[in-house]
């Protein structure tokens, strides 16, 4: 008998685990039948939770149905508090990408400067060390006060949280380019700019991309919290709004969607990283 490939066997185990999880979830939240005799009027008031022993937690079938409903109509717009999940996601992704790309535009050149100049590295280090550990959400009040626009403040928060991993990785990658490659450039009398683009950039690209990948992960983590604060639109706002509506089904659906989008963003960066990686 031929053994299946590792990928194939891993897929079988993954599916089995998913199945076990769904069954356990279903069993834990199913209806247990009428638990108490009560006055029909009272039962009507209490709802299924009390009358049939149904858990307040939705089961996998409820969530599946809700997800299907969202996927069928992702872009409906029934006013400020009732928009399709697709519209909410689009708002979130647009904010994340704007803040993230601005951060990359600042972090990569700044990282180059820090990596190439020991003076700048030493003099900027204290600032980076202090600013890096600040939770991006701590900037929110300051951003709201200075920018005076909730949507732009969210973008600023994304910008500030995406900045550090890329900046630090770029500086590290640039500073640790192999001496021998720099010596090749020196003996060929290659100028500073040409050296930066033809030796340092390709040599540091894998490290820079790793930083960018960490940045997009953090940005996607932070956008949910930021949108809960600024409100109005976005997947974070959607989660908070559905919590206020006590629609746990929608909250779980949104959690699932957030996870999948985060995974896709990471996959995109991983694909990009593979393009610039060179075998040694």
């Amino acid at each position: 008998m031929k053994t299946a490939s590792l990928t194939g066997r891993a897929a079988v185990v993954s599916l089995a685990l998913l199945f076990c999880f769904l069954v356990a979830w279903h069993l834990a939240t199913r209806e247990t039948g009428t638990s108490q005799r009560m006055d029909p009027e009272y039962a009507k008031l209490m709802g299924v939770t009390a009358t049939q022993g149904k858990s307040a937690m939705p089961g996998p079938i409820d969530v599946g149905a809700k997800l299907w409903e969202h996927l069928r109509r992702p872009f409906y717009d029934n006013g400020p508090n009732d928009k399709g999940v697709g519209i909410q996601l689009a708002f979130s992704i647009a904010r994340v990408l704007t803040g993230y790309l601005l951060a990359i535009l600042v972090a990569v050149p700044a990282g180059f400067l820090i990596g190439m100049s020991p003076l700048m590295s030493k003099s900027l280090d204290p600032f980076i060390q202090v600013l890096k550990p600040i939770s991006p959400l701590a900037w929110m009040p300051l951003a709201l006060y200075t920018i005076k626009d909730s949507s732009l403040s969210a973008i600023f928060v994304i910008f500030i949280c995406s900045l550090w991993p890329t900046l630090i990785n770029t500086a590290f990658g640039v500073a640790s380019v192999r001496r021998e490659w720099l010596n090749v450039a020196k003996t060929l009398e290659v100028g500073t700019f040409r050296r930066a683009f033809t030796i340092i950039l390709p040599a540091a690209a894998p490290t820079i991309l790793t930083g960018m990948r960490i940045s997009i992960g953090i940005a996607w983590l932070v956008i949910v919290a930021a949108e809960m604060l600024v409100g109005g639109t976005g997947i974070g706002y959607f989660v908070w709004n559905e919590w206020n509506n006590l629609s746990i089904t929608n909250v779980i659906t949104a959690i699932l969607v957030i996870g999948i989008v985060g995974m896709l963003l990471d996959l995109m960066l991983a694909r990009l990283a593979r393009l610039v990686t060179f075998p040694e």
Binding site: W181, K186, T198, P279, E280
Partner: protein
């Protein structure tokens, strides 16, 4: 020397010691090279050979003294002096052609891509890598990588090639073939070469002159051994030349014992500006004894015949 193409004039290199003062790796080094000469430097690890080469390349600066190449003191690296690194130092994200073309386009910046590639291709073919020009360094064997390094150094048509133990990371067979290639190319192009090696046979096979360096710290150039072997020598029989063992033993003796106490042995007679030039001329006594031994039975045979 009539044509002082390269003149190393009193260079030294020292590093600050922990606890004050300086450690001198080597000091007051004088050496001149003629155009088209192949010089090998032999010495133990730590005597500063690589530092001398880096100073010649312009990658390091001497603490004192100067190096003059073709009438000009060197100030930093130059396209006139190509370096072949011990670790080949190819750019792994470029192909073979890309690596050589990078050097070519650095030298002739206004050349069009087609001309750069054609020029690079010529040198890739010269080192016998035709057909592998679109491979990346990771796909090449150690010997092939070093060939690319040689092609890259040659492609910029330098006045001098500096080689820092270029073959030490290769297996014996590959090393042999590459030595042949380098010898052929250098003879065809009349290239001036300054090479560092640990390998005595390599030095005798390739060099016109072998420079012996004493142990550091405070290393000096002890002797310049002129290679007595004819310019036309072949790998297959250069070790059968009557003067081969004399040369080899002289260098080995130096490395084994004299490199340690050379300065004490010289008793102040050593003048760094006049490094003694030596030409091993006499066959080794051991060989002579063997010849005598083989000659004797002949004589007795003759005697018996008479």
């Amino acid at each position: 020397m009539s044509d002082r193409f390269i003149s190393i004039e009193g260079i030294g290199r020292s590093y600050p010691k922990s606890g004050g003062g300086y450690t001198s790796i080597f000091e007051n080094l004088w050496l001149s090279m003629e155009r088209g000469e192949f010089i090998c430097v032999i010495g133990h690890s730590g005597c500063g050979k690589t530092t001398v080469l880096n100073i010649l390349a312009g990658l390091d600066t001497p603490s004192g003294g100067a190096v003059i190449v073709d009438g000009q003191a060197i100030e930093g690296p130059s396209l006139d002096r190509a370096v072949i690194f011990q670790s080949h130092a190819l750019l792994p994200w470029r192909t073979v052609l890309g690596n050589v073309a990078y050097a070519v386009s650095s030298k002739w910046r206004d050349w069009k891509a087609a001309r750069v590639n054609a020029h690079a291709q010529r040198f890739i073919d010269l080192v016998g890598l035709g057909g592998a020009e679109h491979k990346r360094p990771a796909e090449l064997s150690g010997g092939m990588k070093q060939r690319v390094g040689i092609a890259r150094a040659l492609s910029i048509e330098p006045k001098i090639m500096l080689m820092d133990e270029p073959f030490s990371a290769l297996d014996a067979l590959t090393r042999g073939t590459l030595q042949d290639e380098v010898r052929r190319i250098c003879q065809e192009t009349g290239q001036t070469v300054f090479m560092i090696t640990h390998d005595v046979d390599e030095a005798i096979y390739l060099a016109d002159k072998v420079v012996l360096m004493t142990n550091g710290p405070g290393a000096v150039l002890a002797e310049i051994v002129e290679n007595p072997l004819p310019k036309e020598r072949a790998r297959s029989d250069f070790h059968r030349h009557p003067l081969y063992y004399a040369t080899r033993n002289h260098i080995l003796d130096f490395l084994v014992s004299r490199s340690r106490d050379f300065i004490e042995g010289a008793r102040g007679a050593y003048n760094p500006r006049e490094v003694p030039i030596l030409r091993p001329g006499l066959p080794e006594p051991a060989i002579a004894a063997v010849q005598d031994a083989s000659a004797k039975p002949n004589r007795s045979q003759h005697a018996a015949a008479h």
